[in-house]
């Protein structure tokens, strides 16, 4: 069983569209994250939820809206997609993110905006 799974793996869409990426972890962790990795491999944190509560909300356009229905799931919805949103989006989880513990990453969702 995959510990942190995210879907879809690839997403190609037109500018202006709305899309969602889903993430699920079966590790029983309390904290989940979304990271964005650009073409230069720079990895930047976007959001973090601890037990469904938003604890990290970096400077991200409000077109990006995370939702955590329960502590095992964290979804990312993106409205009005722009070219600059093209990147690989990684979901991750940790036992208790507040303690700065190791992260377990999903395999990534590569988003291409045309």
């Amino acid at each position: 069983d995959t510990a942190v799974s995210q879907t879809p793996k690839y997403l190609v869409t037109q500018m202006g569209n709305d899309k969602s990426i889903k993430c699920e972890q079966n590790l029983g962790h309390d904290t989940m994250y979304w990271y964005k990795q650009d073409s230069k491999k720079f990895l930047k944190i976007m959001f973090s939820y601890n037990n469904k509560e938003l604890i990290i909300n970096e400077t991200v356009p409000n077109r990006f809206s995370p939702k955590s229905p329960d502590k095992a799931h964290l979804n990312l919805h993106i409205n009005s997609l722009e070219l600059g949103d093209s990147a690989v989006y990684f979901c991750a989880s940790s036992q208790d993110g507040r303690l700065g513990q190791e992260l377990f990453f999903g395999e990534g969702s590569r988003l291409t905006v045309l």
């Binding site: 990271y35 491999k41 720079f42 604890i55 990290i56 991750a92 700065g100 999903g106 395999e107 990534g108």
Partner: protein, 114 residues
């Protein structure tokens, strides 16, 4: 602003040689972590070293931490072709409150030639 910076950005060695990657950071940390990312895959946690530790070993990996110089190094001994990947350091800032935010550097791309 970016917290960790890896050096070198790219490293190419022959199988069997040792590989050393360095990471420098700017502000006080709680811990420093190293991750590996194979091409097209998610990041995998390798090792965590706390701010009060100076050296840690895990198999062929050796990590050092010098808080006075705000730097860390990752040594991979007797490298193998399968070690080919990007390696990232990540830091948890001291006093990051209850967020435990992990900030990644830009990574070192290691190529091990058979």
């Amino acid at each position: 602003s970016q917290q960790g910076e890896e050096d070198p950005q790219a490293l190419s060695i022959q199988e069997g040689e040792n590989a050393t990657m360095n990471c420098s950071y700017k502000t006080s940390i709680n811990n420093l972590q190293w991750y590996r990312q194979n091409s097209g895959r998610g990041l995998v946690h390798l090792i965590l070293i706390r701010s009060n530790e100076r050296e840690k070993h895990s198999g062929r990996l050796r990590v050092t931490l010098d808080t006075s110089k705000k730097s860390s190094s990752l040594l991979i001994t007797a490298s193998r072709a399968a070690d080919t990947a990007s390696y990232f350091c990540a830091t948890v800032l001291h006093g990051s409150g209850n967020t435990g935010k992990l900030i990644f550097g830009q990574g070192t791309t290691l190529q091990v030639k058979p």
